[in-house]
């Protein structure tokens, strides 16, 4: 039995509200249960130095957590003067995930930065960030097409992410904080709508796990992301219709 009473393969209630960041070219406030992440895509007509003159674009991401998004207040990274290892790790993951679904050549010499800021945290913030960031990115690209900057959407895959883990209730989908802090293993899966694997990060927290257990986690991730892809498509459709 899960602490939340959810079925083993049930996501928490998920919603995606577009347009929250009023100035951003695309934005999505994603809620997965008690986790809320504001994703805002910013478009710039230039690329980082290492890509100049190569006729391709770039997509990157930054991640942050408000100091009191968590049970206990954490120090503000800006005040400490540096981003922690966890922040670095997560924002690199988000950026790779987004780049896996876009044709950077077709984007041309444009950079898109997606800021993912956690307003409330209850587990799974990096996966929620990826799922929301894809919507923000999608809407920003849509704006470039509508403004005739791009002839067509340079999107090659729809990308979403979910965490799974081994808990006292067995393998379960979409861990909340209570589960996450007691799981013997957890894994984050970044998948495409055609079932392709973009990124897998699996970690044993207490004891090593077996390949069979890992395969069960991946099966749950396929179930979870199937639902997330629908929610992403609905959010995009409503935003575009508006």
């Amino acid at each position: 039995m899960r602490p939340s009473g959810r079925a083993i393969d049930a996501l928490r209630p998920v919603s995606i509200q577009t347009g929250f960041a009023r100035h951003a070219e695309g934005s999505a406030l994603i809620r997965m249960g008690g986790t809320e992440v504001l994703c805002a895509a910013s478009v710039e007509s230039r690329v980082p130095p290492f890509l100049r003159g190569k006729g391709q674009g770039w997509v990157t991401a930054e991640y942050g957590m408000l100091p009191r998004a968590t049970h206990n207040r954490g120090p503000r990274e800006a005040a400490k003067g540096k981003q922690g290892g966890r922040t670095h790790e997560i924002q690199r993951l988000i950026a790779r995930a987004l780049r896996a679904g876009i044709d950077l050549k077709a984007l041309g010499e444009i950079s898109i930065t997606v800021d993912c800021d956690v307003l409330n945290a209850d587990g799974g913030t990096r996966c929620a960030a990826i799922t929301g960031a894809w919507v923000a990115l999608r809407l920003a690209l849509d704006g470039l097409v509508r403004a005739n900057v791009l002839p067509a959407l340079p999107i090659t895959a729809q990308v979403a992410a979910v965490s799974c883990g081994l808990t006292q209730a067995g393998a379960v989908l979409d861990l909340d904080y209570a589960e996450d802090s007691n799981a013997s293993a957890d894994a984050n899966f970044v998948l495409t709508e055609t079932g392709g694997i973009v990124e897998i990060q699996g970690t044993a927290e207490q004891a090593p796990f077996s390949q069979e257990q890992f395969n069960e986690l991946m099966r749950l991730a396929q179930v979870g992301t199937a639902r997330l892809f629908e929610i992403q498509r609905d959010a995009v459709a409503q935003a575009v219709a508006a």
Copy 2:
């Protein structure tokens, strides 16, 4: 005529939503027109080193702005590795404003940090932050009384803030970004519900202004804060009733 069509002494639409930061001891999401600031108060049972053993508490504040709260994306302070001068200046102002309304001796050896994070910016973020932060602080103190940590609220004044400025439409109340960036002078007033002055910051942007002009700005500030005090009280009353 103001760009927004507002009367000279009209605030923008203002709302305060409490409880947005789920883990915080007190929180308020304040909206003043297109400006939105999330204020979250965190309570800790210890004081900074310079106050240890003095039998009094401390209230401080931190201020941040999401990178895409603004028209153009600004660099993330955590990634730059330092907070800018404007951030320092504002968070010091918020903290002084909050301390002006509290009896630190009565608080006892407790620290309260109020994080003010701007989600969307359209002018007046520091004043909105003060007005919202006072509500967050008030609710956190209320929790301490309900938990019998404090015998009574250690509040000495209700504090709110508003900006006024000299624009092409003359002296006006509550500048939005369009007005602020063209004003010849602007001033931030932190006032108490009994009309006392907690802090005044007035700056000539283009040409020096006169004492008469300054007095007119202060009159508008009294009008504006009178309305803000009501909105604060309503928000507190609803939160406490819930």
Copy 3:
């Protein structure tokens, strides 16, 4: 009765020694009682990136305090690796004050940085810095005119600053450290020689103050700056004559 025995509207002994920083295009060592600030203006034939190609100049300021300018030694900001919030706040104030008295268009694509370093501190360092910095800036501009870089002085106002405060002796002019650390409120006024207001910063330290009290502080500031404008003019006249 004031600790120093001064009349309520009396400045401390003030002197301005020009040319102390031998390499600077303009410099002024200002002494206000026990407070001494060395102000040095440096001219560069370029402007910061955000102004390039706009046909205007820039004036900025930096502020520092020697570690043992104060009663107890403070840590060196260079060793700590960052400037504190107070430093940021003050140097932004000085820079705004200086820009309020200059026509940046008439300056052309030239930057002037005025370094204000406190050698000895006894209250009122930011106001002394502004008053001295204006002299250093004025002398640097004079040099540009003499060198035919500028056709005329691009000065639009003479600017000086003084602090006032509410103490046990009532409203008083030009607080020293002993008064400043016990004042119930203090305010810094940056004024022009024609009585215009450039900047006002008023802060209640213990209890809110009234508009009447504030008006009395402003009256004292007008008295004090009238005398400071004379001292600035004398210092400039002697330096130019030399």
Copy 4:
């Protein structure tokens, strides 16, 4: 055909030289082809603040790369004043891998830091670091047993790591730099000698990959680590015998 001519499931030549860091409680210089990583374990009789008084130990890791370990010189992180995101990500991975094989309760209030410094890089540095770091840690623990600080080795699993990837030659084991920079996907596997999974990190570099491809990568990783476990045991046996 692989650039190196190796069979699909062949490791590069691997050696582990113990004792290179003369002062360290345990050390291993691991060479995997052209990749060389110096791993040095340091023992301290105290634990980080978050573990004080909990009766358990801690194992952590730091990772660095000499500036000219790579084809082109990279900037020295100490000179830049911060560790990059890649460094943070890798040292967190190494530390988790090591902790997965140790009983921290049995270790007692002791901290062990394993420094992994890359002297020469030719792909696979994080996996080589893990495999070498386990040997350094094992030898440091051995010293604690010999010194009667610990009654027995607190080791719960033997841990090693290897990278696999999808290249033009198909799925291959132990990528060198030439393969790594052209792989369409790569994955790092941290496994135990009984086949348990400690950590998986799989990343699509160009196109998403399938679950079948992923399973083939994991099969190769089991082949590769089987050989690495032997080499680790030989290195430990020789060091202990000496």
Copy 5:
């Protein structure tokens, strides 16, 4: 012929003004020609962590240069966020020089920090700093004796420093900036009043120099410091008499 017309073994005009830093336990403003360094000694009743409980004191130094002490303005180290290599090198030198003349055991658990801040630079700032710092330290120690904190001065040697160099005029004493920037070699000598060597730093700027040349530089240094010792003694005597 030297640019300044000085004889080969002539110091520039030297003066030491004590008491300039009003709050410091000892201070000296030393002028050597156009070089001016303000040295301020601060006493604290505690020692750094590595000395706690060892029954001895500590003397350290910090060095800084005002941004416009030089011909062209240099960036402020506090604003850059770090002290440069030259600053580190010089402040370590000053501290070693001061410690060479004091009995740290006799000082007891007291720390003295001497801040040396260059107000105007015209070559030889590190040597001027040492010579002035010794006076500031001496006066601070004198205060401890007068206050009965110490039974006697814990001074073991009088210490001063001077630079010498090989220029077009041959070996010369006390280089000014014009000479220093064209010297083929220069050396800084920290000596005691009995002719002992505390520190030597000699550097070939263009071509290696010979032992004979080096010996001539040292001879000049003995001449120069003999005069500096007198000036130090006079300054101390006057300050103590006052």
Copy 6:
């Protein structure tokens, strides 16, 4: 009698292994007793900003120490976020020493950075670094000549360094850690193969020393470097022959 039993004028066993840093244009792993420093020279076809367009090259150096090169683990400078004063001091010394032996005009607009990383420390690391760095630099220059980038070696002197000190055994050559930490004085000598002095750094640790003692230290340094020059030449000859 020295702790190591060495004669007063005996170096520790010295060896120089070239080519250790496989990617570097020149590299040398130097061992002096228990001290091991990896020196790697990197060539770039550009010069720092202050030299652009001046038709000359630049040689610089960076120095680091692996955290566990020492008896007790030291904090990693990259993790602390800054290089310490000792590091700054040493890398500036190495760079000056290398530049003293090269004709920067003849080098042309090329920069060479020599990284000196201490793998194991047992005293004398800065001197070992200089001696090894000269070999790495020499080999990198040799490569530029063989590649016809330079017509001839731009070398003007062979440079090596050694430390000497005053210990209980009197003046001795090449201090190891045990001697260094108890010496009453030590000095580092950077000399050329023709006996020229490039740099001298002599420091009294406990009591001032005399000119006679200093001359004896310099005599020992001449003996020691004579042997180091041979070892450098042998290492270069073997590397070039290979």
